[in-house]
Amino acid sequence: MLDFIIGHFNNATYIMLMMIGFYAMTGKTNLVKKLVGMNIFQWSIILFVVSLSAKRGATIPIVFGSHNPGGPAHLDASNYVNPLPHVLMLTAIVVGVATTGVALALLLRIYKKYGTLDENELLKRARSSG
C-alpha cells in the first residue's frame, strides 16, 4: 500500500493541476481567464511527461569529464536519467509559447472591435451587429 502511494502520488498531483486548468477553461466567462487556464493545462501535461523519465539513483543526462584524456568509462544506461521525454517536451514548451502569443493578439483585436472580453456579452454584441 505504501509502495503504491509512493509510486503514484505524483500522478495525482499532476491530475489535480490539470483539473484546475480544466475548470478555469470551462467555468469562467472572461476570455483572459480561459487563456490562463489553457496555459495551466498545457504545463501540467509537460511536467507529467518529464516525470516519466525519472530513475531512482540516477543523475542528469550530461557526461562529466569527457574532455580528459582517456575519457570516461563505458556508460551504463541505468546511471543516467532518460533523455527522450526532455527532448520531446522542449518542443511542446515552444509550441505553447507560440500559441499563447497568437491567442493574445486575437484577444487584442476582439477587444478593439467589440469593447468587451466577457463571453456572454460578446455573443450578444456579435449577434446584434451582424
Binding site: 550530461i62 514548451i93 515552444v94 509559447v97 502569443g101 493574445l104 487584442l108
Partner: protein, 138 residues
C-alpha cells in the same frame, strides 16, 4: 509600458543589468554542448534582455537600435541557416542533415553548433517581434 519609465530604481537597475543578461544568453547558446542549454533556452534569455531595455528606456529608443525590419530579417535568417546546413550536406554527397560529411575533425559537433546558433537567432527574433507587435497596437 511604451514610455520611458518614471521610477529611478527601474531606470538604473534595468539599464545596468542588460549587458550581463545578454552575455549570459550568448553563453547558454554557445555552451549547449557541455552544460544544460542550447538554442531555444539561450534565444529566450537574449530576447528577454531586449524586453528589459524597453521597460526602462521606452519603445522608440530600442526601435532605433533594433528596428522592426531587422527583427523580421533575424527571424527568417535562423531558419535559412538551419535549412542551409541541410542542403550543404546534400550537396556534399550524403543525406539531408547528415552531418558526417562536413569538413572538420568532429563533423557532427560542428553541424550541431551551427544549427543551434540558427535556432537561437530565430527564437530571439520571433519573441521580440511578438513583443513589438503587442505593444504598438492601438
Amino acid at each position: 509600458m511604451k514610455d520611458v519609465a518614471t521610477s529611478t530604481i527601474v531606470k538604473v537597475v534595468c539599464r545596468r543589468l542588460v549587458p550581463f543578461v545578454q552575455i549570459f544568453g550568448l553563453y547558454v547558446i554557445m555552451h549547449g554542448h557541455s552544460s544544460p542549454g542550447g538554442g531555444f533556452q539561450g534565444g529566450v534569455i537574449l530576447a528577454s534582455s531586449f524586453m528589459l531595455l524597453v521597460l526602462s528606456d521606452g519603445l522608440e529608443t530600442v526601435q532605433r537600435r533594433f528596428s522592426v525590419a531587422m527583427v523580421t530579417i533575424a527571424t527568417s535568417t535562423g531558419v535559412l541557416l538551419y535549412a542551409g546546413v541541410g542542403v550543404l550536406c546534400l550537396l556534399l554527397g550524403a543525406n539531408y542533415l547528415d552531418y558526417s560529411v562536413l569538413p572538420s575533425a568532429e563533423p557532427r559537433s560542428l553541424g550541431m553548433l551551427v544549427i543551434e546558433v540558427g535556432v537561437g537567432i530565430t527564437v530571439t527574433g520571433a519573441l521580440v517581434s511578438i513583443f513589438y507587435d503587442l505593444l504598438s497596437f492601438e
